[in-house]
């Protein structure tokens, strides 16, 4: 089985879909000639042509809005927004238009499109590039929100996203793009949405995360292991749909939960996780669900990143506190 990085897994999925389905088109900024600022689409324009892998004018609302029109014309658009922080420039086209497209037309039309967007901190990128605003899209019904954390998942979830009849926001953790290699099947496979992944199992505490924070939790779990605390790491994979059963199962098993995300604390998706667990598994809990998140501050400049993002130390401390309670 080939070894792939996360960005290679994304590219592999895109290539397979472009080959399989002539309706699939990629559109985004600098994705053709350059192959994308992270090279996620490297070589695809050469293979599939400039009509299917399209270098777009610099206009995010048009990239998303045109994708709706292309879908009506029978295409399956996979749009890349160069960084999730620039979905603000398309925000009015995503929630109110893409998300409501099927319902506004009473099922006459659908928007089976994917919006891919790299995001996340820790790579010293300029302002706005790191913003983790995934929770904003959970408040826009009609859209599925997918947050892969590994090469294997990135490929399987992206293949699922492109084939899913509903619109999908697919957030790619740029910090993990080239961090690890993993065995990834060469052919096609899909991972269904709404099924959390148990990354590792332990009976003392559950660390819940998605995207790059999963990697953080794995490091925290390894350290906790050395202290005799056995942690489960649960990767939600998709925020919409949410695997409520998987969350409840893990929370019930360990009785203690820490939810970790790189987005600001207040009204981050961790709040939804905490609320869901206290509603569905209150009596299995040994203490409050704890949250470790970024501060309620704008994403800072590079020299301050380390003190802004949640750290292994903070996750470990929260897990210890949970176990002691």
């Amino acid at each position: 089985m080939p070894q792939m990085t996360l960005v290679e897994a994304v590219r592999d999925a895109l290539r397979l879909e472009l080959r399989r389905d002539p309706r699939v088109m990629l559109l985004g900024l600098d994705i053709g000639r350059l192959g994308g600022v992270f090279r996620a689409t490297d070589g695809l324009q050469a293979e599939f042509g400039a009509e299917r892998v399209v270098d777009m004018p610099l206009a995010e609302a048009a990239i998303v809005g045109a994708s709706i029109g292309l879908a009506v014309a029978g295409f399956v658009p996979v749009a890349e927004i160069q960084f999730l922080g620039f979905t603000h420039q398309a925000f009015h086209q995503i929630g109110p238009q893409v998300g409501r497209w099927r319902q506004r037309s009473r099922g006459r039309f659908s928007a089976p499109l994917v919006i891919r967007a790299p995001f996340g901190g820790g790579i010293r990128s300029p302002e706005f590039h790191s913003d983790a605003i995934e929770a904003q899209f959970v408040q826009t019904p009609g859209i599925k929100v997918v947050m892969p954390a590994s090469p294997y998942d990135a490929k399987g979830l992206l293949l699922e996203a492109i084939r899913d009849p509903d619109p999908v926001l697919f957030c790619e953790p740029d910090r993990l793009y080239r961090l690890h290699r993993q065995e990834v099947p060469a052919g096609e496979y899909t991972i269904p949405f709404g099924q959390a992944r148990t990354v590792r199992e332990g009976d003392d505490v559950t660390l819940v995360a998605w995207s790059a924070a999963v990697e953080l939790c794995e490091r925290a779990a390894a350290q906790l292991d050395g202290e005799g605390i056995a942690a489960t790491v649960l990767d939600l994979r998709t925020l919409v749909p949410l695997d409520v059963e998987g969350l409840v199962r893990a929370a019930t098993r360990t009785g203690r939960v820490v939810v970790v995300h790189e987005a600001p604390l207040s009204a981050g998706f961790g709040a939804e996780v905490a609320a869901t667990i206290q509603e569905e598994a209150f009596f299995a809990l040994d203490g409050p669900v704890r949250r470790v998140a970024a501060w309620d501050a704008p994403y800072p400049s590079a020299a301050l990143e380390a003190s802004y993002l949640p750290t292994v130390a903070r996750v470990v401390a929260a897990a210890r506190a949970a176990v002691r309670s």
Partner: protein, 352 residues
């Protein structure tokens, strides 16, 4: 400052062809246009009354703008072209195949019955100003890729041209040589904001220059001028020559919508002047002079249109109220389990 483009005009107010102009529609087609315009005005009156009675929702009348809407839609083929509405284009929806009963149902709050039937090549009306324009550009681009020569007619208002989506859509359409006609109804107003406060440009049509395609200005109260300009634009688009922007100068006779109070801002002198340019009266005179229209014929047409309207309004009134769970319909093809649970009547597990 760049001069405003010359305004295309074909019919004088007395219903005569202007010097050197020939009609781009034959008499039967102009009659079809006049009937659509008459239906539109009847519909405005009925929708306004029903809204006042509390039976229908908010309505944005077309009154005064009928030639701008109808002249354009007569230039596209409902059998293969697409219509992308804003919301003030009622007669165009009818021409494109949307059933009157569906529109009536929509106004009573029955969105399910208001569904655009399969095969009717029209997008839903758009309430977020200008948001339909990137869709139109993408749709036209997709149609070009499909081959087949289909064209998109996209409507918007003068206010919409100030939005970023207008710019992004025009720019993309130009870059993709997308077969789309952007028809701007410059009705003088965006709610209470006059055209003069929207932009310093002397003509909205001038903007096209910056996108690399033609912009033309027409007398929007002149059915034949609007049709001629749109037909030319459609022919260009079909031939693979890309988009056109048309600014149709017209005037909103009535309120912005049934919640508005134009007395607070509109100039009665300006309105009276606009009413003297009435688009329907102009076509009536034109056809009458050609022996293709007379009062008896109009009376018969009105009677038929009124009966059609009555039937649609009554059918909509007889619809049973929608079920409370219809708000869950058509959100997803594959809804999340959580949503299905809510549909079954359960809020958050902690609610009860």
């Amino acid at each position: 400052m760049t001069a405003s483009p010359r305004r295309l005009a074909v019919l004088s107010m007395t219903g005569r062809l202007r010097r050197g102009q020939r009609p781009s529609l034959d008499d039967a087609q102009v009659r079809e246009g006049l009937e659509l315009m008459l239906l539109s005005r009847l519909f405005d009156a009925r929708a306004t009354t029903l809204q006042r009675l509390g039976r229908w929702g908010v309505h944005s009348p077309v009154e005064g703008q009928e030639a701008a809407v109808v002249g354009a839609c007569l230039a596209v083929d409902p059998g293969r072209d697409w219509l992308v509405p804003q919301y003030r284009e009622f007669p165009a929806y009818i021409h494109h195949g949307m059933p009157l009963a569906g529109i009536a149902a929509f106004f009573t709050g029955h969105p399910a019955q208001g569904r655009i039937p399969d095969g009717v090549r029209m997008l839903p009306i758009q309430v977020a100003i200008a948001a339909q324009l990137p869709h139109a550009a993408g749709l036209a681009w997709g149609l070009r890729r499909q081959g087949g020569g289909a064209v998109v007619l996209a409507y918007c208002g003068d206010g919409a041209t100030s939005e970023g989506d207008f710019h992004e859509a025009c720019n993309l359409a130009g870059r993709m040589q997308a077969p789309v006609v952007f028809l701007v109804q410059n009705n003088g107003w965006a709610i209470s904001t006059p055209r003069s406060l929207q932009s310093a440009t002397p003509s909205l049509a001038l903007r096209a220059l910056g996108y690399g395609f033609p912009g033309v200005r027409v007398d929007g109260n002149d059915l034949l001028a609007v049709h001629q300009a749109t037909a030319t634009a459609v022919a260009r688009a079909r031939a693979g020559e890309g988009p056109t922007l048309i600014e149709a100068d017209t005037y909103r006779y009535s309120f912005h919508n049934t919640t508005d109070n134009p007395a607070a801002y509109a100039d009665p002198v300006e309105l009276a002047a606009a009413r003297r340019q009435d688009p329907i009266e102009r076509v009536r005179r034109y056809l009458t002079q050609r022996g293709a229209w007379d009062p008896a014929r109009e009376a018969a047409v009105r009677e038929r249109l009124t009966a059609t309207l009555d039937a649609a309004v009554n059918a909509a009134a007889r619809l049973p109220p929608p079920g409370p769970d219809e708000c869950f319909d058509d959100i997803y093809a594959r809804p999340p389990a959580r949503l299905l649970r809510q549909r079954a009547g359960h809020g958050a597990p902690s609610e009860a």
